[in-house]
Symmetry: C2
Subunit: 235 residues, 2 copies
Amino acid sequence: MSLKHYRHLQEHFHSLIRNKVLEAGSKLPSEREIGEQFKLTRVTVRQALQSLEMEGMVYRQNRRGWFVSPPAVVYDPAAHLSFNIFVTEQGYTPHTEKLQQTLVAADSEVATKMNLAVGTPVLFLHRRRYIDNRPVLIEKMYINTTLLPGIEEEDLTQSLSQLLARKYQMSYRDMDLSFKATSLPEEATSALGITAGQSGLNIERINYTQDKQVLEIDYEYWRHDAVTIQIAIRD
Amino acid sequence: MSLKHYRHLQEHFHSLIRNKVLEAGSKLPSEREIGEQFKLTRVTVRQALQSLEMEGMVYRQNRRGWFVSPPAVVYDPAAHLSFNIFVTEQGYTPHTEKLQQTLVAADSEVATKMNLAVGTPVLFLHRRRYIDNRPVLIEKMYINTTLLPGIEEEDLTQSLSQLLARKYQMSYRDMDLSFKATSLPEEATSALGITAGQSGLNIERINYTQDKQVLEIDYEYWRHDAVTIQIAIRD
DNA sequence: CAGTGGTCTAGACCACCCC
DNA sequence: GGGTGGTCTAGACCACTGC
């Protein structure tokens, strides 16, 4: 009863991390070492580590080891700040990588949401974003090129909101947001270097122009420990 | 490589559930039965079930078994609809249970957020809420009784927003919201009949009156598979 | 009391990372 | 090639649920 060795181990690392004996980003001892030290099998050690992972205290890189999670960044979608800006403001270093960019024909889901005919060309953009060199999210966007002619020739690793303002005199306003805590799909875990099926946060966002046309649809998959959502509702 | 038995098993149940061979709420065979059927050990079976759990496809009741998750309810905090109303609108049956109600002295966190002196009495309310008889969330609220005299004598299993409107001619307006995908604390898992440390959704909400005073602070812990957050931002 | 999931042992082999 | 985590076997005992 006072057993539950994995709880004990969990509490052990919890306090080491809380007291900064183990600093953010540092590597934990290997599963086998921990097991030896505490006279536990790897199964039990892994159960403790997985509990800590669900708490957001540690994370793993596939086959590289376990690491202490940095603090989560605060993301306020309603603030209309770019990723670069809000990450920088919180004292971290953002970085964006373009994985793919192609013109695709809108499928029925995208076409319906954008109020376009199925098959209309839209710009598909796939990006990976980092905080302090740790990949924290991937996003897949469908951009309504009809409203933004020539956007595909720009540097699309930059902030889209800044690009919109500079080149098109547009800005984000209304949006529909949806959040779901669920496991990440394979495409996301492999792009983020996470073990398959880890839990994460799925955000879906539809951005509208001032006159209610759909500018862009965004699907984001975040590591769950990397972000806290914060929104101020002001009617 | 084409091994990964637990992935195979996961896909097996995934398709059974998708095709409604296993209906929402129904019980899966026991871990030992599944293992026998697929010639796998319980460890592997459990790994598959835990993956399905993270996906939100199944859930477990402590030592009772594994069950197919019902569809998630959509929760729009900005719509100012009561739990009872939005759950009913989506075709489910809500139910609320009061676990505790006491007048407490505001601690420093609550006092600061409510802009009251530490030690001011506030109403603490602890409730458990159900959808179709399944406990899906617990909430702990601190209510600013200074603004709502006599509220402690009301039936507090009912909708607070309706109570506010009827008795005090007030309604929810501005609010600060915070969401975090994390594991549930012990108090939440035990109250929800979940295994310790399961992942969930943590919502923190501060409700303001029309004139910017803090009406109530709410801490909600949801089963992660029970809810999708949806918010429309309209500037 | 029988059956369930929760915890744990003591191994094994493999895929992949880094040196 | 040595070390890491990822997957898996074949058992065991315990705590709790439901009859």
